[in-house]
């Protein structure tokens, strides 16, 4: 493939030089969508959705709890996906993507645990029960910590990329096994005193609020990851001409900003 052919194909966005400005242009739009959807979701959740018959008002935690839990699992899968792409196709950008995703995934994972604990206290009477879902979520958080710690501990970016990719894939293979084993363990040890089944019927407005919040979490994730990946790209590509141009522009923008304020 010649350079001109390459620059015309969609694949060119896999090259850092094209991806960097694209990410900068797209991120604010996703952020704006996230804000709008969050407001809509909160309005649905707090003012339209009715009081739950059995749980009262406290169930309203669900509008962040479930999206956070979904996001944390999904982000891990996306991380593993980019890691696999990076290892197979040898594209540097893929590794950077998976590393930019990890902190956000870990934050959502923690939030799912935190909101789960606050929800659990009034409904189960304890902040923490060793329920299968909660326990798997906790282990997922540890997997995130492992990935982040490993990629940060390695100085050489090439090695950090690949080592991170391997541990992300090993983790992804193990997630279903962990979930299965924790479920098994849970059914053996959990007494009948604590019933964790959610109310089977959910008002349509509750579901709508939850889904809107889930999409908002998606948009937020995309925006923040695009913002996080940009400086990472600059750092990796610091030897190239185009990064120099980008940095000069940045410098001018900062100078203009200062002049305007003075």
């Amino acid at each position: 493939m010649t350079t001109s052919e390459r620059s015309r194909s969609v694949l060119r966005f896999a090259s850092p030089q094209y991806f960097y400005p694209l990410a900068g242009k797209l991120a604010p739009w996703f952020a704006a969508l996230a804000v709008v959807l969050t407001l809509a979701g909160l309005w649905l959740g707090f003012f339209v959705a009715p009081t739950d018959a059995t749980q009262g008002e406290v169930y309203r935690v669900i509008f962040i709890h479930v999206p956070a839990a979904w996001m944390s699992m999904f982000i891990y899968l996306v991380m593993a996906f980019w890691s696999a792409v990076g290892l197979v196709m040898n594209t540097r950008l893929s590794f950077v993507m998976s590393q930019a995703l990890a902190p956000t995934g870990a934050i959502f994972c923690f939030l799912a645990l935190w909101t789960g604990a606050l929800w659990g206290k009034p409904t189960w009477g304890a902040y923490w029960v060793w329920d299968a879902r909660l326990t798997s979520q906790l282990l997922l958080l540890f997997l995130y910590f492992g990935f982040i710690a490993l990629t940060r501990a390695i100085e050489d970016p090439r090695r950090a990329d690949r080592a991170g990719a391997i541990i992300a894939l090993v983790g992804a293979v193990n997630v279903p096994i962990i979930y299965f084993s924790v479920n098994w363990w849970n059914t053996l040890h959990q007494g009948a005193s604590v019933s964790l089944t959610k109310a089977p019927s959910m008002a349509a407005t509750m579901l709508a609020g939850m889904l809107v919040m889930a999409i908002a979490a998606w948009m937020y994730t995309i925006a923040v990851v695009l913002w996080r990946v940009r400086p990472m790209i600059l750092e990796r590509e610091r030897h190239t001409e185009w990064v120099g141009t980008v940095l000069e522009k940045e410098l001018q923008a900062v100078a203009a900003n200062k002049g305007g304020r003075a």
């Binding site: 282990l139 540890f142 997997l143 910590f145 492992g146 710690a149 490993l150 501990a153 390695i154 090439r158 090695r159 690949r162 080592a163 391997i166 541990i167 894939l169 090993v170 983790g171 293979v173 193990n174 096994i177 962990i178 299965f180 084993s181 924790v182 098994w184 363990w185 053996l188």
Partner: protein
């Protein structure tokens, strides 16, 4: 291929024999961790009996973890690893040999001592054979998974703690089925399902982990 496997296995076992002090340290660690529990939870026999399977398994798991960082460290330091990676043999073969030698020199002694420690915790006699069996099926999985982590953290500052952080979440299923097997046997519901799952896990780990470990070693030595 078999000759490479046997040669590496022999060499590593010989090295392990020469450095047998390390093996004794692992073993002592296992014994001491088990002995700590009565001090922590009280020496009430019924309580000890109830926690015995979990305590023995957690102690074995930690003993396994403690020694893991040694798996490739020496070969990495003296350049043997690079030579092996340059050889034309598939890396998974000699990785498997190294892991097996490592398990024989650290896992096996722990398994041998485990029944004695079980008696200290007053585990019922019927559980002893299942304990040994579950450890025999389970600790190789720990070593195989741990080998991937050891390969990834090779030569890193604070590698030991990092290794623990990486592999401990992956050890959880093994712990659940291993300790669960003993408990199921003692409580009379039969350990077969647990042991079969452990066996399946071992087969899966043997099939996949050496490849992942070989890839990780390549990345770490580049």
């Amino acid at each position: 291929m078999l000759s490479t496997f046997l040669a590496v296995l022999r060499r590593d076992l010989l090295l392990a024999w020469r450095g047998r002090a390390d093996v004794l340290v692992t073993l002592a660690f296992f014994v001491i961790v088990v002995c700590l529990f009565p001090f922590g939870v009280g020496a009430e026999p019924n309580q000890l009996r109830a926690i015995a399977p979990g305590v023995l398994w957690v102690a074995a798991l930690l003993a396994c973890l403690l020694s893991l960082h040694r798996l490739f460290a020496q070969d990495y330091a003296d350049g043997t690893l690079e030579q092996l990676l340059l050889s034309r043999e598939p890396a998974a073969v000699w990785v498997m040999a190294k892991v097996l030698a490592f398990w024989l020199s650290t896992g096996l002694p722990v398994i041998a001592v485990a029944p004695a420690m079980a008696l200290l915790l007053d585990l019922e006699q019927g559980g002893l054979s299942v304990l040994v069996l579950s450890l025999t099926l389970g600790t190789p999985i720990l070593t195989l998974l741990g080998a991937v982590g050891a390969a990834l953290t090779l030569g890193l500052r604070g590698g030991g703690m990092l290794l623990a952080l990486l592999v401990l979440p992956l050890f959880v299923p093994v712990l659940i089925f291993g300790a669960g097997a003993v408990e199921a046997e003692v409580s009379g519901s039969g350990a077969l399902a647990h042991l079969l799952l452990l066996g399946g896990g071992l087969a899966g780990a043997v099939a996949l982990a050496p490849w992942a470990c070989a890839a990780a070693l390549r990345i770490s030595t580049e």
